[in-house]
């Protein structure tokens, strides 16, 4: 039989690793640790990265720091608004990451990072050392952009652009609204989290209103003059909810600059007033606050990175993925964050192993539901080039215009399939 027990064997390998100075482990240690990676934010980007680093190399120790005990996804939160799903369906646990992939989960808020000392400081008082740090903190809002719209007013006029209590607040307001009411949605300028999201929201709210409050209307007051999948959304709204949804573009008075919360009135720069019964303001955005605190952002408020490895251009050994980073042609989506996280995981693992990362590939597909049986999508496959992450020209594009109802039904069906698969790829959900 083998003269070495498994434990002795690991010790030996550890010793060899230490000799070749590739490993942080010391002779005689129980476990080989080839590096310590700390991940800030357990959402689409962070949780994916944690799982994949452990899958690529179980000798790397991964610690995931997340403020909340569970993760509630923004994807499919518009279905919760429309009363089609409960909040439980979009709530995910960290148990598989902890128990199956042995990721250390710390529930706490990161209050600062010391890039030279390589330390993450937690609100709870502890600090955690890293060899590599991954930041996937998502977005925060530019609270000074719309006069009168503050964080405390958002508890009365929700943004619902982070899922959870905000989603339920907007849902409850829609349910309490009288028939014949006006719902206003005010989307921001680019770039922002989930470019098709506000328009998906309009359609799914219309689905709810059509059934329960058919005399009601939806007014979209947009900061922009065009939006994602515009022709498909416009066609879908006309097919399913004729006359119910009105979109006002930015240069025709749609760009909101102020709010009077006492009277539920929005104002544009010409001081024209729009009064709503339920109002949803989606403010302009920037990288999550902690990225600002640590100095990872540029003058626009987002994090510039090496788009092959996602390493920050501001601090060494810190990687930024997901909504917070500047992903070139990739939109700020959960799908993109998941794709970036896997490439980032491979970049970190190969770098700690001292090997070369093979050519990365990236992908995004945003499904949107206009009604529960009416799905559309926009897709792209990307590669790294000298100009950064670029779409492969022949790939991707949007669903066909004027497609048969059966095509839309299939895509709605696959949209739900996508949601189950991607949360499976992140949290092992639905497995």
């Amino acid at each position: 039989m083998n003269p070495f027990s498994r434990r002795q064997f690991i010790k030996l390998v550890g010793a060899v690793g230490a000799l070749s100075s590739l490993s942080a482990c010391q002779f005689g240690e129980e476990k080989v640790i080839e590096g310590r990676v700390v991940i800030v934010g357990g959402g689409f980007g962070g949780a994916t990265c944690a799982k994949y680093i452990r899958r690529f190399n179980p000798n790397i120790e991964v610690t995931l720091i997340e403020r909340d005990a569970k993760f509630i996804t923004c994807p499919f939160s518009n279905m919760v608004l429309a009363g089609l799903y409960g909040i439980d369906w979009i709530t995910h646990e960290y148990t598989a990451l902890r128990d199956k992939y042995s990721v250390k989960i710390i529930q706490d808020t990161v209050i600062d990072i010391e890039p030279i000392a390589k330390k993450v400081l937690l609100k709870g008082g502890k600090s955690v050392h890293y060899d590599r740090l991954v930041m996937s903190p998502g977005i925060d809002f530019q609270w000074d952009a719309i006069e009168g719209y503050t964080e405390s007013i958002s508890h009365q006029i929700p943004h619902a652009w982070k899922a959870g209590a905000q989603t339920l607040l907007l849902r409850d307001q829609l349910q309490a609204m009288k028939d014949g009411g006006v719902v206003i949605i005010a989307p921001p300028r680019n770039p922002f989290r989930c470019p098709p999201g506000p328009y998906e929201r309009a359609g799914l709210i219309a689905h709810y209103l059509k059934q329960h409050k058919p005399k009601s209307k939806i007014l979209i007051l947009d900061a922009k003059d065009t939006f994602s999948k515009q022709a498909l959304f416009t066609q879908g709204w006309a097919d399913l909810y004729p006359g119910m949804i009105e979109w006002v573009e930015g240069s025709f008075g749609g760009h909101i600059t102020g709010v009077d919360a006492k009277t539920n009135t929005l104002y544009n720069s010409d001081k024209e007033a729009y009064k709503g019964d339920v109002i949803n303001i989606i403010p302009p955005q920037k990288a999550g606050l902690i990225a600002h605190k640590v100095g990872l952002v540029n003058e626009d408020g987002w994090c510039p990175i090496n788009q092959r490895t996602f390493e920050s251009q501001k601090h060494a050994d810190i990687h930024v993925i997901g909504d917070a980073c500047i992903g070139s042609k990739m939109p700020k989506s959960g799908f993109a964050a998941n794709s970036q996280a896997k490439v980032c995981a491979a970049a970190i693992v190969t770098s700690l192993d001292g090997t070369e990362m093979p050519e990365p590939s990236y992908v995004n597909t945003c499904y949107s539901l206009i009604g529960p049986d009416y799905g559309i999508s926009v897709a792209a496959v990307y590669r790294f080039t000298e100009q950064g992450i670029m779409k492969i020209k022949a790939s991707g594009g949007v669903s066909p215009q004027n497609a048969h109802a059966d095509f839309r039904r299939k895509e709605a069906h696959y949209a739900i399939g996508w949601y189950m698969s991607i949360t499976n790829d992140i949290f092992d959900s639905f497995s």
Binding site: L12, Y52, S361, T365, V381, G396, W418
Partner: protein, 97 residues
């Protein structure tokens, strides 16, 4: 000497201890798992692509790419990969049963 030869043989199993290698094929296949589930095992409506033969995967990917068969979204995905890349993806995916 003997001991080191022994270790270098045994080092291999430690590397394969990883659930997933980092190769060109696996990096490309990472672009599939967001829709088809980890390792290509889908929990929902999108078909599972694990456990299929490489030949089947290569043929159907090219059929999607060249619009020979109907798809809602796979045509738009498959157009992002060359013949060589499709082969690498297919070979990687067949490692999962």
């Amino acid at each position: 000497m003997k001991i080191f030869a022994f270790i270098s043989i045994l080092l291999l199993p430690v590397i394969t201890q990883a659930e997933m290698p980092i190769t060109r094929g696996s990096m490309l296949a990472l672009s599939c798992t967001g829709c088809h589930g980890t390792n290509g095992k889908s929990p929902g409506a999108i078909p599972t692509i694990a456990g299929k033969s490489a030949g089947y995967l290569i043929t159907i990917m090219k059929d999607f790419r060249d619009n020979r068969i109907f798809s809602t979204v796979m045509g738009r995905q498959a157009k992002g990969y060359t013949d060589e890349e499709i082969t690498l993806i297919a070979e990687y995916l067949t490692t999962y049963k």
